[in-house]
Subunit: 316 residues, 2 copies
Amino acid sequence: MTIHHQPDREAPGKDLIDAVRAFNRFYTRQIGLLDEGLLKSAFSLTEARVLYELAHRDDLTATDLGRDLGLDAGYVSRLLKKFERRHLISRSTLASDARQSSIALTKAGREAFAPLNKDSHNQVAALLSRLPASEQHRLVKSMRTVQGLLGESAEPKVPYLLRPLQVGDIGWIIRRQGMLYAQDYGWDETYEALVAEILSAFVKSFDPKWERSWIAEREGEVVGSVFIVRKSDQVAKLRLLYVEPSARGLGIGKRLVEECIGFARARGYKTLTLWTNDILTAARHIYQAAGFKLIEEEAHHSFGKDLVGQTWDLDL
Amino acid sequence: MTIHHQPDREAPGKDLIDAVRAFNRFYTRQIGLLDEGLLKSAFSLTEARVLYELAHRDDLTATDLGRDLGLDAGYVSRLLKKFERRHLISRSTLASDARQSSIALTKAGREAFAPLNKDSHNQVAALLSRLPASEQHRLVKSMRTVQGLLGESAEPKVPYLLRPLQVGDIGWIIRRQGMLYAQDYGWDETYEALVAEILSAFVKSFDPKWERSWIAEREGEVVGSVFIVRKSDQVAKLRLLYVEPSARGLGIGKRLVEECIGFARARGYKTLTLWTNDILTAARHIYQAAGFKLIEEEAHHSFGKDLVGQTWDLDL
DNA sequence: CCATTAACTTGACTTAGTCAACTATTTTGG
DNA sequence: CCAAAATAGTTGACTAAGTCAAGTTAATGG
């Protein structure tokens, strides 16, 4: 396991840049087409965007609108004045700040927005229904990906959370471990198979009193995991510690190991043991920092490589 | 598993429509941001789009530009006149039609476009380099998908391709099968564990002469799989047939089964057998259509449910 | 309590885009 | 082959969309 303290930011290739630019041109046109759909309505695209925001969010101020939609403050002011003259919105000065006011659609405003909203809905429905259902899902999934990647990657307040195993996790862990070690160390598919075997056995013989799993999740995605299995009354074994490259540097590895140690102590185990390979230096640092001692090493040939296995123990 | 023989055009659900609309709003803003980048240049976004087209395509007419960029003919005429006055473009009347002329950038035009192009390139490069390399690829892939689906939908010539197993596949299959059967039939995590066990054993004892796997891949994603394992000299067993919901209706399930049958015949097996559950009706239709006969049924309790297992055989 | 900043507002302006009428060609249908 | 219709492009007259800078009022941090 390689731990970077900063996720890498890499200079993109020309082909990637060109693809993004092509997409931008394409979508500029696409939005132009959608805009045309509004032509017959009483509102411009920008007005419709403002109405949309007002219809879907509460307690907006003029500044909020300008910032979120990328509009000039003066322009927003005029738009709102126009809306107010037509009794589509009402403004109430904020108690906390007399310069600002909270803007809300009036009943008339909602009524004016409804057909607009409906047209837009129908237009998109028409667009989508040209595709078979499976493609519709692919489209939306890809859009969500784009939006997720380009959008405010507002670092989540809780950078990750730990939870127990659920359906789908073990497959994911098997895949990611298999791929990571194949990529970083050239291990072959037998490593992925080994992980599958370990996790299959873990689930099948799972004993909740003596065993436990922790999955680190971040924005709905698995970014790390660790497992404790019972070797004997006295000895627990820590297995399959792993952290996604994209989530390294957040202390997830350390936290997972700490959880294991805490659990093992609480259950009265005397020793926590683990097996790893010497090339996995980042993981080793975590074990050392947690107080594990190297017990023995032996060379072995596995996963298509010559490796040096290590056993580490921690007295609890 | 539901198999459609014609891709359905289905009325999209509200959640899909809302997701697309959210994306449209998001990207409208995104393009607005990119537009701001042009502010300091001598050209507006529309002018830049026209220049881009002129720089990258030959023999454009005014009508072509208007059509492809969604611009008013009068406006295009004026833009071109302005460019011509500044000696950025030259026009030559077409021999075939004296009303039209072919428009091309002059040297000065290319020189004026170059910094614009470079700025746009750099801007996109900056955007991309905020993401780690793997995310950059995910972004571009998703953009291509969106563009492919919404654009002049030239149906992909190869809707899917078959390939053998590679690292990461078995984890993915374990995950997806676990999740699908949990979702559709309420099976618990022991099913996922069973799939893990089967695939682990498949990889570990893999005998290329007698066994084989097929992964159906579409745009780089696994959308289906099937495995053949050797039970004896005479008998091959088909295992873990599965097609992603998003890729159903393309005949992938049928194709995977056909591949198995072809392989089993070629290797001289006498019987192809498989085990399934009666509730998996879509899979059963495939097996029946391929000539499999139901040999026996027995009730069993697995994966947290009462099920009826079925054995199907095909004489080769 | 004063200087600075933030949240608007307003006047004066430019740019972007639309619409309809027009000319010059080309295409089409009898 | 010709009249009518359509297409390519141009132009005048216009409106909508957006910008900029200077102003007013209120909040904030020493």
